[in-house]
Symmetry: C2
Subunit: 221 residues, 2 copies
């Protein structure tokens, strides 16, 4: 079984290699890829080995091989379809920003509760009222859901998605959602990250001050 972290790295390898090559260079060494992916060379070799990609001690790995084999591993035969619930500022931004970037994933439908926002085409994506979610998802073979509704209604939307057959969810609402075990969920809690970065930023600031301040005393007890 391949771990989530490994999948994340593999996705990064492909993007990195698509950016550097193959027009600039044909081969790459594990330590070079490791540096670009912010990881360890042995880890890169292990990941590639896992995918059945072999390199040679003299020339390293063929970039075209890696891209091809990773694509064979990650992408299915058909394109995958995603849906989005909540056409607010954030929903619109995701439609505009990410719709183009993953060639094998298509944002096929967007949903909102507000009739003023539905039955239009927004950034190339058709919009529908939420109560047609299940119908559209089944008809169009959509397997991915993106949640950009407010925190209060996020769990309800997630439940609707899982009962409609959605298998993977990305949640931008600042609530931890409960989903059945067979559904893959990625909780992108921007507020949490903001507070986390704020904490470490302050720590970094305080390191430069003398030891005896409120914070360091507190942490010492």
């Amino acid at each position: 079984m391949i771990s989530e972290k490994t999948i994340e790295r593999i996705i990064r390898y492909r993007r990195i290699l698509k950016e550097v090559g193959p027009e600039h260079r044909t081969h790459i060494f594990s330590h070079q890829l490791a540096e670009m992916a912010h990881c360890n060379a042995a880890q890169v070799r292990r990941d590639l080995m896992l995918l059945g990609i072999a390199g040679s001690p003299a020339k390293g790995y063929l970039i075209g091989d890696i891209i091809g084999d990773i694509s064979g591993f990650l992408d299915g035969e058909a394109e995958q379809r995603a849906s989005l619930c909540g056409i607010g500022n954030l929903g619109r931004a995701i439609l505009a920003y990410f719709v183009k970037s993953s060639p094998n994933i298509k944002l096929a439908a967007a949903f909102d509760r507000n009739p003023a926002k539905t039955n239009q085409t927004l950034f190339g994506c058709r919009t529908y009222p939420v109560d047609r979610f299940s119908e559209i998802v089944k008809k169009r073979g959509i397997s991915i859901g993106i949640i950009t509704v407010p925190a209060e209604s996020a769990q309800q939307i997630a439940d609707m998605m899982t009962t409609s057959g959605i298998k993977g969810i990305i949640n931008f609402a600042p609530t931890l959602l409960k989903v059945p075990s067979w559904v893959c969920i990625e909780q992108l809690d921007v507020n949490m990250y903001l507070e986390k970065v704020a904490y470490f930023a302050r720590q970094s600031n305080e390191k430069q001050r003398p030891m005896q301040n409120k914070r360091s005393i507190r942490r010492m007890r």
Copy 2:
């Protein structure tokens, strides 16, 4: 030293407890908080112990205590200020969506290269041309930077931020950024998460089909 994962959980505990109490209830047991935070009860007890929060075997932990002590730990004496670079769809969404939600963090300034977008007030936030970044950051004591520019210019913006004294960065551009070791960086690579969820969604779909298909053969070698 407190690990990043622990900080993430602590941030979640506070938000969860602010939602449930203290108007509804005054005390909570570790296993109850653990269930809401999607983690282990022993982990909750260890995290709270780390912050010096004690509970009693009879009544559990006092919710007001936890919220207060976590706030004392996470928040500084003064509010922290954040800046945002790149007033596109995503930047605007973040201004609109997250500006209000963290009471101790204030989005104090937004920056863009395009003069048509600057010297305005957007969702209560003043906008400036990028070349005034360093000046404004120093003048207003801003320590956090949010990057919502396209991938091509993200590293350049990150460099500008670190040389201006920014100590924590949230990066939404789909590029891994290099920053000095004293800068805390959180890379929110939405495209990566999209591809990751797509991979697991497809896996989950294929589990229901008979074993002998292209994908499972590939994974077996």
